[in-house]
Amino acid sequence: MTQVHIRIDDTDLAVSPQLTIMEAAEQLGIQIPRLCYHPDLSIEGACRVCIVEVEGYKNYLPSCATRVQEGMVIRTNSPEIRQARRDLVELIIDNHPRECQTCERDGNCELQNLAYAMGVRERLFEGRRKLYKVESSSPAVIRDAEKCILCRRCVRVCSEIQGIHNLSQLYRGFDTRVAPAHEAPMNESVCIACGQCINVCPVAAFLERPSTDAVWRSLSDPETLVIAQVAPAIRAAIGEGFNLPPGQIMTGQTVTALRRLGFDIVFDTNFGADLTVVEEAHEFARRLKENRDLPLLTSCSPGWIKFLEHFYPEFIPNASTCKSPMSILSTVSKTYYAQQRGIDPKKIFMVAIMPCVAKKFEAERGEHVSETGAPYTDVVLTTRELIWMIKAYGIDLTHLPEGEFDHPLGFSTGAADLFGKTGGVMEAVLRTAVEQLTGQTLTSIDFQQVRDVEGIREAQLEVAGRTLHVAVANGLNNAKLLLEKVKSGEAHYDLIELMACPGGCVGGGGQPYPPPGYHVLDKEILKKRAQALLDIDAGKPLRKAHENPYIIEIYKEFLGEPGSPVSHKLLHTTYHPREPRGIK
C-alpha cells in the first residue's frame, strides 16, 4: 500500500494512510496521553486529552480520531498542548469526587495516573460538581455516577461488544449521566452482570458489589467451615495483581495464599467443571440421539444465561440444563462432601473465587439453593477482590510455596482447565462426547479448530458417521450473530459454546485491571492467560473429564450415572424468561 510522509515532533516518517496520528506516533515510541480511547471500541473523541497540534489547523486535533495525511506536520508536545492537556484533565477532576484515598481504584485509576502525568498539582477552576447516589440494587454491578467522567467506554462495551445496550448517556451537558433505560436500578434493567463496564471504566464509576466483608467475618468464625473454590481462569491471571507478567501459572501459590488467609478447605472449581463435562456430554449425546432441542447451548457463563433469559427466551429449551462448574462444586460440597465427612452443610461457608462478576448474580439465583433454601454458594469473590484480600493480609503471592487443593473435590483433568478460555468448554465436552458417541478412545484430543480467540468460530467434525456442526462465540454480540443465524435457518449447529466475556472467562469482568503497558481487554493479555490454561491442560496426565477418578467415584458412590435422577436434582437447573425484555 502507498505510504504517506509525515513529521511528528521533528521526526520524519512514512506510514500507512490508514493510521491515526495516535497510532503513527506509537511507531516512534510516543504514547500520546489518552483517556476515552479504547482500541477495541469505536472512537469517541470526547475527552480531548489526546489532542495534538497539526500545522495548518486552527484548532488542536484529537489524535485518536484523525488519520494521517500526506505532508502532515504534527507536534505532540508543545508547551501550549501540554497546558491544554493539563487544563482538560483538571476540568475532569474538578467534577470528580475528592476521595481518592478511600476509593476502590486508588493507585489503579487511569484518571489519577493521568492527572499526575499531566502535572495537575493545583486546582485553578474548581467549582460545583455533580452529585449522585451510588446505585447498588444489583447483586453484581454497582454504579457510581458521581465518579463517572463520561468517557462512554462502558456504553460502548455494553453495546458494541456485548450487544446489550443496557447503558446510555441520559440527559445532556453537565447533567449527563450514564444509566440504564429510565435511569432504572441495575437489577431492573437488562444488565447481564458481565462486568465489562467495570473492566473498561477508567475510574470507579462501575464496580463489582463488594463481598470481602462477609468473607472476613466467616473466616474469623471458628464454628464455620470455610471452603474456597478457585475457578480455572484465576490461576492464569492472579499474578498480574502482584506485578507478574500476564500468563503466569499461579495455581499452587493461590492455594497457599487461601490457606494463609484462613480458609479451612480449598477446592478446585475444576472438579465441578469435570462433572459438568460429563453431564453435558451425556445431555448432548442424548439430544443428538433424540434429535431434539439442538443446537445444545452451553450454560456455564452466567452472563450469557441472563442474556438468554432477557433476549432469547425462545432458546431456553436449547440451553444445557447443567449447572455451571461453580454451582456444581458448591452443590456437591454441601451434599456429597458434607455427607461423606459428616459435616452439617449449614456450617459450610462456600466462597467461590471467580473471574466473573455475573457469578455473584448466579450465586443468588433462586434455583441454586438447597432444600432448606440456603444458597449453595455463599459468597463470590472476583479475582480482584481476592488480590486485595491477599494484599490486605500482607502476603506476597509471588514468594509463596505451591500448595495442593484438598481432595476429593480438588482433583481435575486438563479438560476442566480449558473452561477458563473461549472454546474450552466445547473442547472439553467433545473429548468426552466423541468417545461416548463412537465408543472408541480418542488419541488426538486437541481440537485446534475451536482454539483461536476470535469472536466466532465454527467447525465440523466427523463423528460416528455423522457430521457434527459446532460453533463457539464469545462476547454477546457474537452470540447474537450466531443465534440469529440459527433462527433464520441460515446455519445449523449441533453444539454451541457461548461465553459472555471476550476471550471467555480469562477476560471476565472480575479479572485484574491491566498491568502497565497493556490496555483493558488487551488481546495479548487474553492470549497469554489462555495459553497458560492450555499449558496446564497439556501438562496433565489426565485430560478427559470422564477419566477423572474422583468423578468416577462420585458417580459410583453418590450420583449413579450421568443424567440420573440424583444428577438431575443436584446438578441441573432451570431458566426462565426475564423482564425487561432485551432488544435484539
Binding site: 446510555s168 448517556q169 432488544i583
Partner: protein, 165 residues
C-alpha cells in the same frame, strides 16, 4: 416482531406508524418522529410507552431513554392542562422575562418544570420562539401572549382559570 406480554397501550395509529416506519429504509431514524407523535397524543413520554416503542421498533430502551432525555422538547412527566412556557430568549431576557418567570413561580407556587397540584398549570421555559420583536413572550399551550409584564401575570392566570370553568 417481539411483543412483550404486557398489554399494549399505544393507540392503533401510532402502532401503524411504527409498522410503516419499520418497512422503510433506516427505520431507527424515525425514533424522534415517533416520540413526537406519542407526546402529541399523551402529553408526555411515559416509561410504558417508551418500552412499547422499543419493542415495536426494536430500538434498545436505553437508547430511547437517552434520546428522550437529550431533547428538551420531550417531557417525561405529565404536563398541566395549561402549559405555561416562558421564552427566555435574548430579546425576552433583555425585556425582563426573568421577572415574569418569578411572578409565575410566586403566583403558582411551583418551580420550573413542575405542575400545580390541581394539574391545571405547569411551568416551563422555552428556547427563543422567534417572535423577539414582541418580547417578552409567554405561551400557554399554543397561545402566544406578547409584550407581557410581571404585573399582568395574576390577571392572566385568573382569566385562564375562569375560561376553564
Amino acid at each position: 416482531m417481539n411483543k412483550t406480554d404486557q398489554s399494549v397501550t399505544l393507540d392503533r395509529d401510532i402502532i401503524d406508524l411504527m409498522e410503516e416506519c419499520r418497512l422503510r429504509e433506516y427505520p431507527e431514524s424515525y425514533l424522534i418522529t415517533i416520540l413526537h407523535r406519542v407526546q402529541a397524543r399523551y402529553g408526555y413520554l411515559s416509561e410504558q410507552h417508551m418500552d412499547e416503542v422499543a419493542q415495536y421498533m426494536q430500538i434498545p430502551t436505553a437508547t430511547i431513554s437517552g434520546v428522550a432525555t437529550f431533547y428538551h422538547y420531550f417531557r417525561l412527566r405529565p404536563r398541566g392542562k395549561y402549559a405555561i412556557s416562558i421564552c427566555l430568549g435574548t430579546a425576552c431576557f433583555v425585556k425582563g422575562a426573568d421577572k415574569i418567570l418569578e411572578a409565575f413561580k410566586t403566583e403558582l407556587g411551583i418551580d420550573m418544570g413542575e405542575t400545580t397540584q390541581d394539574g391545571l398549570f405547569s411551568l416551563e421555559n422555552s428556547r427563543c420562539l422567534g417572535v423577539c420583536a414582541l418580547a417578552p413572550v409567554v405561551t400557554v399551550n399554543d397561545r402566544v401572549y406578547s409584550n407581557l409584564s410581571a404585573k399582568q401575570v395574576p390577571d392572566l392566570l385568573n382569566k385562564i382559570r375562569f375560561e376553564d370553568q
